[in-house]
Symmetry: C2
Subunit: 109 residues, 2 copies
């Protein structure tokens, strides 16, 4: 089977965060997220009915939660966001691209 590189096809300009589905079946959705200086909208919280496991592959970012201390994520750091844990992206590095791998345990569809 042909392999693909996780850092392939990252555009030089990122007006919006870039979400790319790497794999999806009825059990799991794996996506790459590329950010640069992006953050969730003020006051917005993700509230997902599925578990999400995220690994920062490059860059730096901070996740904020409604009810617990923030996670500062450098390259190589991973964290589990259990279902219905309200969270948001507090910030991502402005000077370099941050590449996340996100594994959602079920499709939201």
């Amino acid at each position: 089977m042909s392999q693909t590189h996780i850092f392939a096809d990252i555009p030089k300009q990122l007006p919006e965060e870039l979400f790319t589905t790497l794999f999806k079946n009825p059990h799991v959705h794996i996506e790459r997220i590329v950010s640069q200086g992006h953050a969730s909208a003020e006051g917005f919280w993700y509230d997902q009915p599925w578990d999400e496991w995220v690994l920062v592959l490059q860059g730096q970012a901070q996740l904020a939660y409604e009810d617990q201390a923030d996670s500062l994520l450098n390259a190589g750091d991973y964290v589990l966001i259990t279902a219905h844990t309200k969270h948001r992206v507090a910030w991502t590095a402005a000077e370099e691209v941050t590449v996340w791998l996100a594994v959602h345990s079920c499709s939201p569809d």
Copy 2:
């Protein structure tokens, strides 16, 4: 939530491949595999009833399949091994540690 580093706790000696479960729920099993010079036993084929998505985070390895060309995987390369695709690890780098991230779409249990 507290974060953990994907390269944490890698022993200096690896008599066997090291399998570490990073997350597991009824839908997905995420594990880290650390190899150094390991390969599947001659003539052995993995034949799994679930999809597996693997990403090499460090090192180099080659996957062989029963019915198709091999995958040479350098750091950053990922590949999907669909259910019941017979595969084996042909080799992993001897001079450095190879760290794999494997996402199994269902628990084998």
